[in-house]
């Protein structure tokens, strides 16, 4: 190999963006086609710098928009090699057309999404609006709660999505600024160990194999479109979880770090629980522990894999809980939050259903404080004590002005 390896300390102090950039370096991405957007920019800047310093061998194509970034990634992936990029917010929104094309064409691309609010009003800070926008696009979606997750999940993502039985693109989400720009200790892998875990890219239907010409991106109408979509969904629903669990297990063997489809915290004997994603998971865990000291049996469910959605695992985690609150960090646009919907759906056929309410929080980077969560757990316990839901189904947390609640 013509490029140089990098010596890493066992634990480096990295923010989420740099952790993701390091993971992309160690995976030896062949092509990155990218367009900068806050707060994800440092990921692709990192790749460019590694390239400039000969720590990676590949092509960095700095295109003229996020739509072109994903278009270039699709062309590169169809040509037959390892492809990744990163984006956020408006850039993600501009990419949406091509996200559906990438997944429908069954191309294993890894997209790091550093979650940020969607305009208007324009806002550069973190919330989950962009992540939610991609939820029907046919991609696998992992959620990192920390820089460590942003690092680890990139390796896991490549292993899962490049598998010839899967062949679906994969997003690795992290919270804008709270994860992407907050330096923490990250346990590292050496370059060799990391690359060996991911393995060499194994091309399939590659356009650069001139002995076997292929046609990518065909037309289908009412005669075949449904079957293609059904097959893709079938693979998402039946093949992806077993593969993810296999890769999680391999990763645990290698690193000792254990990932789960649904990350349960103190759920075994819990009466009340919150379901959340991103950096809120850690805050909720801390508060749950404090609530237990006050006599409230609190637990936390963090969603590690958003698509495919782990319905059965969620139902299993929540089946003995008395009251559950979902924390959605995206403006629900005239209905309940996405998590409220999914959690309600997953629990509906349980014999004994927990009480469920939904909270909207943190839009445009507004902090979710421990005090908010103390109040939330206290409210859930009050509902348990009353034996019924005494509060509105949907409430906004941390918004100024009079209390905002619905339903």
């Amino acid at each position: 190999m013509a490029f140089d390896k990098m010596e890493l300390k066992d634990i480096e102090v990295w923010d989420g963006n740099f952790a993701a950039a390091q993971a992309l370096r160690q995976c030896q991405i062949d092509v990155v086609a990218a367009y900068p957007i806050t707060p994800s920019t440092p990921i692709v800047e990192g790749y460019a710098k590694f390239l400039a310093d000969n720590y990676i061998e590949g092509e960095f194509v700095m295109v003229e928009s996020e739509h072109a970034a994903m278009s270039g990634c699709i062309g590169a992936a169809a040509a037959g090699g390892r492809v990744a990029t990163a984006t956020s917010s408006q850039g993600f929104a501009l990419m949406v057309e091509t996200l559906y094309q990438a997944s429908g064409m069954r191309l294993p691309i890894v997209l790091n999404v550093v979650n940020r609010a969607l305009a208007a009003p324009l806002n550069v800070n973190g919330d989950h609006s962009d992540m939610y926008l991609g939820r029907d696009s046919g991609w696998i979606q992992f959620d990192a709660f920390s820089p460590q997750g942003a690092y680890d999940l990139n390796f896991i993502a490549f292993r899962v999505c490049e598998d010839h039985g899967i062949r679906l693109p994969c997003m690795v989400h992290q919270d804008g600024f709270m994860t992407s720009h907050t330096a923490q200790g990250v346990e590292t892998l050496s370059d060799d160990v990391a690359y060996n875990f991911v393995g060499d890219y194994k091309p399939m239907n590659d356009m650069l194999d001139f002995e076997h010409p292929v046609t990518h991106g065909v037309q289908t109408e009412e005669d075949w479109h449904f079957e293609h979509k059904a097959r893709q969904h079938n693979d998402l629903m039946t093949k992806v979880f077993p593969k993810i669990e296999e890769v999680f297990a391999d990763f645990e063997k290698l690193t000792g770090r254990k990932y789960n489809l649904v990350e349960e915290y103190d759920m075994k004997d819990a009466d009340v629980a919150v379901v959340c994603m991103g950096t809120s998971v850690e805050t909720a865990r801390e508060v749950a522990t404090e609530m237990r000291a006050k006599g409230i049996k609190a637990g936390v469910v963090g969603i590690r894999v958003i698509r495919p959605f782990p319905f059965m695992q969620i139902a299993q985690a929540l089946k003995d809980i008395k009251a559950v609150a979902t924390l959605d960090r995206s403006a629900p646009g005239g209905t309940v939050g996405m998590l409220f919907n999914e959690i309600a759906g997953s629990m509906y056929n349980l014999e004994k259903r927990p009480m469920l309410c939904g909270k909207i929080y943190g839009l445009g980077g507004r902090d979710l404080t421990k005090a908010h969560l103390v109040e939330l757990y206290t409210e859930l316990q009050a509902n348990v004590d009353a034996g019924k839901i005494t509060t509105p189904l949907q409430q906004f947390i941390g918004v100024r002005g009079p209390k905002l609640s619905f339903l």
Binding site: S65, C73, G80, T98
Partner: protein
């Protein structure tokens, strides 16, 4: 550099091994398939091709069939150029890493797109590809209309043409805007080669395609593609229409090297009046009414002015 394919005559050229099959759904008399064959037959090298959403794409890759015996990709309406640019980047990456399956090949990267997908919705993507210097060729199949969706105007639709979104009517002569000069715009990216071609002048076409494939860097080709359906002429007259287009100088054939050096590559012995070109097409029929006849005169003046401009540029060698 691979050896240039030698082409002696039209018979030999037209019977070359096809990588674009005759089995496709394009209209009888469609010039797209003729242009595509002429481009592909100009080389024996391996090909990585793309098409944008449009006539060429929906008529040649309908699952479970394909008309392409070469690597081919379609993503969407605007991004066919970038698809090929991505593939070209991967080729470079794998070449440098020594991971190509057939390292001895010298593939050519070509994107095909209609004028709507090039002049309008895909404009930014093409500009990006040209600016970044990918080793690729973008070929516009310029039929001056959104033909696949039933004849809406694009920014390539010329003045006076009746299109469904700029129809001629009791008080309108159809399209009011002048056609965008894409060859100049693309040449202004200082790319090594840009040219206008026409399927009737196949030798000129082959020469330009071979030149374009031989140079390093992005190449832009604008090919006039007479559209039997939207220009409204008899399918058997496609080549006659192409002849009228080039010989009336409505579509002058020229090339621009390194963004500035312009060469006219075809000078008609007998220049045909623009009126004859317009009269051969139903889309201009209304221009022959008394109230719009001044437009025909303006058409001729515009074409004359452009021809004189091209000649002055050629002479100036700047």
């Amino acid at each position: 550099m691979s050896e240039m394919k030698k082409i002696k005559n039209l018979k030999e050229f037209s019977t070359s091994a096809d990588r674009f099959e005759g089995a496709n759904l394009l209209c009888p008399g469609c010039a797209h398939s003729i242009i595509v064959r002429e481009v592909l037959n100009a080389t024996n090298d391996d090909l990585v091709l793309s098409a944008t959403t449009g006539c060429l794409e929906v008529c040649t890759a309908v699952y479970p069939y394909t008309s392409w015996d070469a690597s081919w990709i379609h993503i969407g309406f605007e991004n066919g150029s970038t698809a090929v640019a991505g593939a070209e980047a991967m080729y470079k990456a794998l070449k440098n890493k020594g991971r190509l399956k057939q390292p001895d090949r010298n593939p050519k990267f070509v994107s095909f797109a209609g004028d709507g997908a090039s002049y309008d919705i895909g404009f930014q993507w093409i500009s990006g590809c040209m600016e970044r210097g990918h080793n690729m060729m973008h070929v516009v199949l310029d039929n001056e209309v959104y033909a696949n969706t039933g004849g809406q105007r694009s920014s390539s639709t010329p003045i006076g043409a009746s299109a469904t979104t700029s129809p001629a009517g009791r008080v309108s002569y159809g399209e009011k805007k002048n056609k965008k000069d894409m060859v100049s715009i693309m040449a202004s990216h200082n790319i090594p080669y840009s040219a206008q071609v026409s399927p009737n002048k196949w030798k000129d076409m082959v020469k330009k395609i071979q030149h374009g494939m031989a140079v390093e860097g992005p190449v832009f080709i604008n090919a006039v593609s007479p559209c039997t359906t939207e220009w409204k002429f008899d399918p058997k007259d496609t080549m006659m229409l192409a002849d009228l287009a080039t010989d009336s100088l409505v579509f002058p054939l020229y090339e621009i090297i390194d963004g500035h050096e312009l060469n006219i590559t075809y000078r008609p012995k007998n220049v045909v009046p623009v009126e004859e070109y317009l009269a051969a097409q139903g889309r201009f029929k209304h221009l022959f009414k008394d109230e719009y006849k001044h437009l025909i005169k303006e058409w001729q003046e515009r074409v004359d002015a452009n021809w004189s401009y091209l000649q002055r540029r050629e002479e100036a060698r700047v």
